[in-house]
């Protein structure tokens, strides 16, 4: 981390709060924010995040968390996650599962295919009949052919598998599983593709294709929601600004979502067990431990590393890189 200019940053001020909760700052504001985040220590930053998150007021409807809706999907939250997860993937603290993946990194792709549990279940032998491609929604609309992928994988040629992992091809799959139902040899092309995508990220090949490096956005979007809200999607995510395809009625709803959720009995950022509920810190703690043990945090760190490397090469800050990959292609 860079040396700080002035350590005692007055982050409680309203102007700073405005800055970190801005979703689409202009370039100058963005760089200013980045400079300030870099200046904060890990402890300061995480402490600030949780203080803002847990700040609450009592209202007629119960407890209200005024900052919470503005924290998700911000560069601030992403930076907090990075800092918070970093110690969990240090060499000597890696979980057993993470160690397996770390070792798999240095082995060949062919080794992976023979050892990764999903890959093993996905392919016994392929006769190239094409039943998978025939009704594949991705093959219909993109330069994508699950049969060709299965056929290539079956040949076990390291060079061509590496080439595949560096290409856009594997990222077109919808993971719908239509192929699995139809395969006369009971293979699972979508399972194989899922395994190949994992391998691509494990080896850092994904950043070499446009569609592969979109994973950096996915890592923070879904990964951020999981890490902070224990759900891959959060009811505040579908910002109508990013979902103009959902039409004007959606925008109108979204403005009234708090009221709407409460009236139909959901629990927007409230305690409870239904949609939108605010996750309890103890539950979150337990899940974070599981995801660390399950190798997810290690996996995210790999995506993070690959992105940081590529961002540095391109002379972008990580925030610019994040926005770049989500709009590219």
């Amino acid at each position: 981390m860079r040396q700080t200019e002035h350590m005692s940053i007055e982050y409680d001020t309203q102007s700073f709060l405005d800055l970190i909760t801005r979703r689409n700052p202009d370039d100058a504001a963005w760089r200013d924010l980045r400079r300030r985040l870099d200046a904060m220590s890990d402890a300061e930053l995480t402490d600030l995040y949780y203080r803002l998150r847990d700040a609450c007021q009592v209202s007629e409807q119960g407890l209200v968390y005024p900052n919470i809706q503005n924290l998700h999907a911000t560069p601030f939250e992403r930076e907090k996650d990075r800092r918070e997860q970093r110690p969990l993937v240090e060499q000597d603290s890696l979980s057993e599962v993470a160690c397996w993946y770390r070792e798999a990194r240095d082995k060949s792709c062919v080794w992976w295919l023979e050892n990764h549990v999903i890959a093993r279940h996905a392919l016994s032998s392929c006769m190239n009949c094409g039943a998978c491609t025939a009704l594949c929604p991705a093959a219909e609309f993109n330069e994508f052919n699950p049969r060709a992928i299965m056929s290539l994988v079956q040949e076990k040629d390291e060079t061509s598998i590496v080439e595949l992992l560096k290409s856009d091809t594997i990222w077109f799959c919808h993971q719908c599983g239509s192929c699995k139902t139809k395969c006369p040899r009971q293979n699972s092309p979508f399972g194989m593709i899922s395994s190949l995508r994992q391998l691509s990220q494990l080896k850092g090949y994904h950043v070499q294709s446009i569609r592969g490096r979109q994973q950096y956005f996915a890592r923070h979007f879904w990964g951020g929601n999981l890490w902070n809200r224990a759900c891959t999607l959060y009811f505040r995510n579908p910002d109508p600004e990013r979902h103009k395809d959902f039409g004007p009625r959606f925008a109108a709803y979204f403005r009234a979502k708090e009221e709407y959720l409460r009236r139909i009995g959901a629990q927007p950022d409230m305690e409870g067990h239904l949609s939108g509920r605010k996750v309890a810190p103890e539950t979150l703690e337990e899940l974070r431990k599981l995801w660390t043990a399950g190798g997810a945090v290690y996996f995210w760190s790999l995506i993070e590393e690959a992105a940081a490397r590529q961002a540095a090469q391109a002379g972008m800050t990580i925030d610019e890189y994040h926005n770049h990959v989500m709009s590219e292609g």
Binding site: H121, C173, K180, L226, D245, R263
Partner: protein, 343 residues
Amino acid sequence: MNPYHLAGRESTWQKHIKDIPVDNYFLTLSCILGSFYPASETMVPKVFDLLGLRWATTHTSHNGWSCCTAIGYHGDIMPIEATLLTVARLWALAQEAGMEVITPTCVTSFGTYCECQELLEQEPELRGRIARLLKDTCGRKLVIPRRLAHVSDVYYQHRERLAGHFQYRLIEAATGRPLRVVDHIGCHYAKLFPQRHAVGGSEYCDVLAGMVRTWGGENVDYPERRHCCGMGFRQCMIPPNRGATMASVHKKLKSMAPFKPDLIVTNCPGCQVFMDKEQWAVHEMTGEKYFIPVITYQELAGILLGWDPYEVVGIDFHTVPVEPLLDKIGIPYDREKSWHREP
């Protein structure tokens, strides 16, 4: 004249009768429904209670629920072990609540539970590792559920009893004509483990079609009936990829339009979102106006039960207005209760 034999269809799905547990449901919730159609989840406990079913979910601070992480798994940011552990924890919560049937509201959760179940059954070494990690990490015990049910399975199982509470049927009030209903199943319900887990198998899946028939409607078969909605996890979520999602929705709409469906009923939260919401984008991009109402089976049951379309069923959240459907069935509604003005 129908271009197909109903009897043939029936005998086909009847080959795949699923043994659906009748009670003791542990409800797990959906990220997508929670974000887009929360009423479809809040109505589930109401229906369970209405039918007097024994069910539970959990929300204590130590036993709170999480999502199943399947979007992360299919979106390729979760290794399978992390998903297995998350799912195993949910299963453990169910056991602790004394419920043996894991019942998700989400089709992808369902597919993932089935996949986890199969993996753990077939891979003893993996099973051992997951059990150990679950115990070491959070002190819970791995119990692989014997039977899995989707909430739609429960509705299907109790469809006749439920119909007993209905105030309306899927019939056009003015003419007495059964409404023509397209059922969209959701790939991860019907295509992943059709033999073991899908009511009626994958080709003529009956989980929604059966509800529709029992509730007075007519099933519509159309060429792209089994086609994926195009959600595709990373395809719908990352804007530059969304063209494929829209194209899939467009393809389905184009294919069903000649059959003049009155509504589309969905099983899967993701399909519900994109079949409904992308109709707007398709309209803007092609100028074609389909605007066929898309509702979940929970919402369908809700409106037929006579629950308030706005206050309980929350139909004003839809991109394609559902009011024309209510008019057809003859369900009264008070537009004043809607949360927003028509744009």
